[in-house]
Structure formats: C-alpha cells, structure tokens
Amino acid sequence: MAARCAGRALSRAARSVINAEYNRAARSQTVQRLTCTAAPGSSSSGQDADRLKAVQFADAEVQDILNRITGLDLNKVFQPVKQELKPPKYRLLTDTQLEEAAHKAGTQAKKLLKMPPVLPERKPIEEVLCEDKMLEGMDKAKYVFTDITYNIPHRERFIVVREPSGTLRKASWEERDRLLQVYFPKNERKLTPPPMFKEENLKVMFGQNRHHAVLNYCLVQFEPDSAEFKRVHALTYEDIEKNGKYNLLWSTRLFGGLVWHLISSQRIDGLLSDMLQRDRVHDAESLVHLFNLAHPQSDSALQAQQQQASGLELLKIYADCECQRPGFIKLALQVYEQTKTQSSA
C-alpha cells in the first residue's frame, strides 16, 4: 500500500518533469516525427503484400506473446476460493516429488489462464425454411421445435419456429441461447441476463474495482460472439483504460482480451507506462512487438522492420513514432538503462 503510494507520487513527479521537458523539446519532436513519416516509401511492394498482413487473435504467435505478457502469479491464480470448508491435508514430499508438484501446479495454472476467444460479432439468423399459408391462424402462439439429440454440438443443433402466420423459420440467436439453456442448462447461467449487466449496476461494480467479477459472470452468461458479451467487455475495458487499473486483470485469463482490445484501438500508451512503472520491461517490449505485428502499416512497425530493431530500441522507435505521451516512456527507458549500467558496473 505505502509502496504503491510512493510509486504513484514518483510517477506524478516524473510526469511534471516530463511536461516541462516536452514543452522545451517540442520542435525537436516534430522534426523527429517528420523523419519517421518519410520512411515508408523505401520498402519494396512485393514483400509488402506478405509482411503487411495483420495478425489475428487466434494466431499462435499472438497467443504466445499474450500468455507471456499475462504473467504467472501463483498466489493470484490459486487464490483461496469461498467453498465448503474441509480440514487441511498435509503431505511429506521428497525434493523430486516437490518439484513434480510445483510442475503440476504450473500446468494447472496455465489451464486456468487459458484466454477466452475473441470472435467477430455473430451475424443474425434470418432464414425462412417454408411458407405454409394453410396453417395461418391455427394458433395464437409460436411453436418452437428443438432437436434434443444428446451428442451433437449446440452450434449444429436445429431449432426452428412455426409462427402463427404459418412460416417456418430458423430461430434467432437469442431464442437459440434461451432454449439451449432450457434443455441443456449450464451452471449459473440464467434464462434472462441478470440486472448486473445494466449500465447503473456496472458502474457500481467498477467503482468497487470488481472488473474481474463482471467479466467472469459475462463469460458464464453470454456466448463469446454475442453482442451483449462484446458490449460488457468493451465497457469494462474502457473503464480500466480510463482509470489505469491494468493491474486488476494482470495474471488472470482476462488480461489477453484487454491487451488485444487496446492494441486494436491503438491505445497502448497507458498500459506501456504502467508496465514500465512496474519494471516489466520485457513485457513492454513484447507488447510493442505485438503492436507492430497487428498494425504492420503503422510508422513504428515500418521503422522497426527497416532497422531490424529489438529490445529497448523497439520501445524507443515506438515512443518516437506512434506514442501520444512519449516523454514518460523515454524517461522510464533512460532510468532503466542507467540502473542497468550501474548494476553491471
């Protein structure tokens, strides 16, 4: 707690220093930016088509980087959960058995940190299978026919609706979700979304810093490609980014989604500065590398490709080209380099 306050005070002091420096160095900055934007014309067009293809969330490279950035804090991942209390079990282990147990804990933690998928929004189902004028006015209610065979995936299950006007159509996504919950109920999922996902209640939750609880409930309640899922996630990420509360989701399965959202909307400055504050320089480098992969046509990506940069140089290039708050990042890099040289000397 005191350490955090000290850290925040330091950052505030640093920012005030930076602002003064930035005002003085404004002209030199603009000169540097001009040199950055002059770069793109040099690369060949043939290689452009291959290298400038932006990566997707599901790519192995992206997943690898995100897993590394997420980190592994065993205390946070295996936090004691409120459940029925049982007396504790003690075991005596040899050294090899202890290593094995630690290894098992690591694999279990990796399973628990597996990221939920980021998918494009699902297109609405609007298909009429048959129009039977004969059945018009037969009943005032709609009839829903669901295929309840056990061993088929839910996305291959046929659910059709017979309207009172006689049309036989495929059920919409919301109807599908509701009926699948009726016939194949999932734990803790409600038929109607709980009032927690309304704006006012979400704000209360954000005020109490319970973003992880909101997102976990969202994962339980909604399908990953539904509109509601995306809306709740977007609101949560916006609130985190506005208040700089990145550490709430660090070392949880939800961090990857947050990072991807920020990268897609090109707003990684806050996260970068937060990482540098917490001395996670390698994570910061991976983040900038991922940004370059996701936006291969951006200035920093092209510059980095030209100079074949890696490590701290990547960060410097990013700070020069794309960053909205370059001063803080440069200062942090300087401090890191100084400490490195001091420790080596």
Partner: protein, 246 residues
C-alpha cells in the same frame, strides 16, 4: 392444528348464534323472515378457511406495517450506520445475542414459522422481527452480509441465527437478488472454451441453399440410388430373422 381446533370451537358458537337468530325471526312477523335469514346463511357459510385467509393477509400487513412505520423504510442501510444501531449491537452481528427458547437440550431443527400473527408479536421474537428498523432489502448489503459466512459464502442456517422461517425466506430471496445485481460476490464456475467450434458454418446457424426445384425423376439426395448392401451381411440378417420375414 391450533387453527383447526379454533375453527371447531367457533362452529358451535356460530350454530348457537344461528339458532338465536332463527328464534328471533320466529318471534317477529313472518314477512320479515326472508331478509333476516340471508345474513344468517351468510354467517353459516362463513367458513373457518375464509377467516384464516383474511387473517393471514392481515398478518402480512401486520408484519409489513410494523416495518413501514420505521424511519428507515426508504433507506434501510442508513440504520446500520446510526448511533441507535451501534449502541444496541456494536460491531457484532444482529443475531449474536439472541437465544431461542425451547424444551430440552437439542433445539427443534426448524425455527418458528413466524413471530407476528394477526399483528401480535410472540414472546422472544427473532433478531429481525424484534427490531422495527431492521428491514430486509436487497440493497441493504451490510445487513445481508451478517447472515452469510465470510469463509464459505453460504447463508447461515436459521437454527444458528434464530430467525423465524418467514424472515429466513425473505432473507434468502433478498440475498439472491443482491447476487444477481452484483452487490454480493458469488463463486462462478470455470468456463472451458477448448474443443468448441465457433466458425458458425453448419446449416443449423448459417445460410442453407433453398431446396432444388421438384423434378420427380431425380432422387432427393444424389446418393439415394447408388448405395447397395453387402451381400454376406444381407444373407446373415435374413437368416436370423427368417421366421419374421414374409
């Protein structure tokens, strides 16, 4: 049990009243009998069940009217920060100093059904009914948390807290609503996304081509005519079901 005894006791008294009224009408002029008899019949048909229903409604109103008179009926959570509350309960939960009265060493496994019947409170009411200002509301989170274990997250049994069954039900519903609103943290299951296909390419959720125009010569599916059974298998099955085949 007590209600049925009471109804049995009431019945002869009603019959007596009826007989009295009939006697009175017999004494008076016969013309007036008809209008006089209808209230008699109404009394006779005034069964004990109807009386009990009315009294139970009155009971609910009785309980709610007691809490409605409280100063904190609009904002029940304010009471838990007031001086009155702190003086009475301090930092302990509301049910800490309550002790049930029962015969023998082992208490009955259910607490009493309700503390307030027909507007009258019983002796030794439960921790919620004895204090007019303690109102069970889903937004009154600090009160609800007193009835949830901080270690397991389960709601305490009424035999432990001493609340009557009616208040326990109301407490359970309030806690559930609070959990749905996100005011009380819940333990959620881990959602596994491995092995799920989100491509949405199957005909059930994607666009399927319309059926081909009807040509009676062509079979519906292209493979309808071309599949032929294995002859050995066919012979084997025919041999097994020989007696059933024509």
């Amino acid at each position: 049990m007590a209600a049925s005894i009471r109804s049995i006791v009431r019945a002869p008294s009603r019959i007596f009243l009826v007989l009295q009224r009939i006697h009175q009408t017999q004494v008076t002029v016969g013309v007036l009998r008809a209008p006089v008899i209808t209230p008699v019949i109404r009394n006779f048909f005034y069964s004990s069940k109807l009386l009990n229903l009315e009294s139970s409604e009155k009971n609910d109103h009785g309980v709610e009217s007691l809490k409605d008179l409280s100063r904190y009926k609009d904002k029940p959570w304010k009471y838990l920060e007031s001086e009155e509350y702190i003086e009475r309960y301090g930092s302990k939960p509301v049910w800490a100093n309550y002790r049930r009265n029962h015969k023998g060493g082992i208490p009955p496994q259910k607490t009493r059904k309700t503390c307030i019947r027909r507007g009258k409170t019983c002796g030794n009411p439960c921790p919620i009914c004895r204090d007019q200002n303690i109102i069970i509301h889903y937004q009154n989170v600090s009160l609800l948390q007193q009835f949830i274990s901080p270690y397991t997250g389960f709601v305490y049994d009424p035999t432990r807290t001493g609340v009557c069954m009616r208040q326990q039900k109301r407490l359970n519903t309030a806690i559930e609503t609070a959990k749905l609103h996100g005011l009380i943290p819940t333990q959620l299951p881990f959602v596994d996304y491995t092995g799920e296909d989100y491509s949405n390419s199957h005909g059930a959720v994607a666009h399927t081509p319309p059926p081909p125009s009807k040509t009676p010569d062509e079979p519906w599916y292209s493979w309808y005519g071309s599949i032929e059974p294995n002859e050995h298998e066919l012979a084997r099955v025919k041999k097994i079901y020989k007696s059933y085949l024509k």
